[in-house]
Amino acid sequence: MLPLAALFVAFFVAPLIVLLALSLHADTATATWTAANYVKFFTDRFNYSILWDTLFLGVKATLVCLVFGYPIAWICARASARWQSVLVFLVILPILTSVVVRTFAWIVILGRQGVLNQIALSLHLTDEPLRLLYTEPGVVMVLAQVQMPLMVLPILTVLSKIDPNLADASRVLGAGEWRTLWRVTVPLSLPGVVAGCILTYSACVTAFVTQTLIGGARLIYMPLHIYQQAIGANNWPFAAAISVIFMVAVLAAVALLSLLGRKSESYGSA
């Protein structure tokens, strides 16, 4: 444990402290402390709307992951061992394939002459090619595909541990399948849902590659904002302040979700 703790203190905790310290200075040379960078961020609409857009983007992509991911996990948990392996393999295939490659595939699909537009045009659903790339719905869709496995795996873990007798008991007592799902299976699997939401959410808001390649230059989210301020504008103290604000915001969202998770655990066991 000690060697890894040493690495983390020297190369994880220390950099974050240096980052926090730099964010409280006007420039890299001066020694006076100031909160100017934070004031600048929260008084400028351009800046705080990027933060809001990023946090909200994560919510949308997480919800799409949940709607499609829960049924996959549910079916996986009921499948025979052999099919379960195949399904899990298909689910983890995308997360292990390079993010750049997966996002690139989506450019081929979403572009003006992409697969989706060809289908829409040939079915006469639209007269001219739809704009899918460089739009927020496009980013949400691609993020959902790229991060879906993070939602499916924790839910599957919890679902496969639920005692099947409970669902049988519910049915014997006269509840239908839908009622059993909503009143028995879903409440019992809430800890897995919360764990999946936490992983998916924190991955979606920081997905730099997907956000920049599908969103393009005009849709700016926090990771690109940090990168542009740090490397493009070379304004390190301000980029440090944005980084700190972003980290605190993501941690707050995660804390909120895990609080819900703890509530749901007591609900599940009650």
Binding site: L22, I72, T97, V100, V101, V108, S160, S243
Partner: protein
């Protein structure tokens, strides 16, 4: 008793249909892009169109002359290799400590070691850049490996701690009482039993490092370009069909490694 059973059957069918349809859409949605990417990379024409106008290996052949891409791929492999070695050595030692101890300190370490999974990696990459500048260094391969290790070690930790928690402590007691020392017990009893979990973790760490953009973006210097960053820049500026060929190679390489990991370590069991 007949009427309720009839309605239950209808309900079971509707539930199965809705969930089956959603899951089927999701599976196509998950696997489709990779398949389309793979087929497009075999195109015979100059453009990235699907379905391709004809099939050929010309863009794969063109990779043989792509010096910059080859250099970037080599850098990425070297960094991923050292990151995996460091993650496995440090991660196993830490997992043993965390799994054995119930102290609050061990819990705190567990949370700390897992936090890179939740924290924005790009913010950490930038923090690491500021930090090494403050120390008077400039970005280089060794720092890149350290940065990658911080964000990749959680994968090794998670699977190894899970494997250790399933280890029967009676086996360790038996080994000790038969006269084996701590190191010998670890090598002959613990290690073989946690090997699948450790192997799956090492595989995940390797893939995460090979694919890392947010940390490499700040810690790679001009001379050591990394493959995912090179590809990212290529896709942003000009859509070159050779990029599709590299992507195709990465997909095939990933598939082969995944099948190997499934065979050797039961990857799909370890990920749950």
């Amino acid at each position: 008793m007949v009427a309720p059973r009839y309605s239950t059957d209808w309900e079971a069918l509707s539930l199965r249909l809705v969930f089956g349809a959603l899951a089927a859409i999701a599976i196509v949605f998950l696997v489709g892009p990779t398949v389309i990417m793979l087929l497009t990379s075999f195109t015979a024409s100059q453009s990235l169109k699907f379905p391709p106008d004809g099939l050929s290996l010309r863009w794969y052949a063109a990779l043989l002359d792509a010096d910059q891409m080859q250099a970037a791929a080599w850098n990425s492999l070297v960094v991923a290799f050292w990151t995996t070695v460091l993650s496995v050595v440090l991660g196993t030692a830490a997992a043993l400590g965390i799994a054995r101890s119930r102290s609050p300190l061990a819990r705190a370490c567990d949370v700390l070691f897992m936090s890179p999974l939740l924290l924005p990696a790009l913010a950490f990459g930038f923090a690491a850049l500021i930090f090494i500048h403050r120390l008077g260094f400039s970005p280089s391969i060794p720092f890149l490996v350290l940065g990658h290790t911080v964000v990749c070690v959680p994968f090794v930790l998670r699977t190894t701690i899970a494997a250790l928690s399933q280890l029967d402590p009676a086996l360790l007691d038996a080994s000790q009482s038969l006269g084996a020392g701590g190191w010998r017990t670890f090598r002959r009893v613990t290690l073989p039993l946690i090997a699948p979990g450790l192997g799956a973790g090492a595989f995940l760490a390797f893939m995460a490092s090979f694919d890392n953009v947010p940390v490499s973006l700040f810690l790679a210097d001009e001379r050591s370009e990394m493959l995912p960053i090179h590809l990212w820049q290529q896709i942003e500026t000009n859509l070159d069909v050779r990029t599709a060929a590299v992507s195709g190679l990465i997909v095939m390489f990933t598939l082969i490694l995944m099948l190997l990991a499934e065979r050797l370590a039961g990857l799909t069991r370890q990920m749950r």
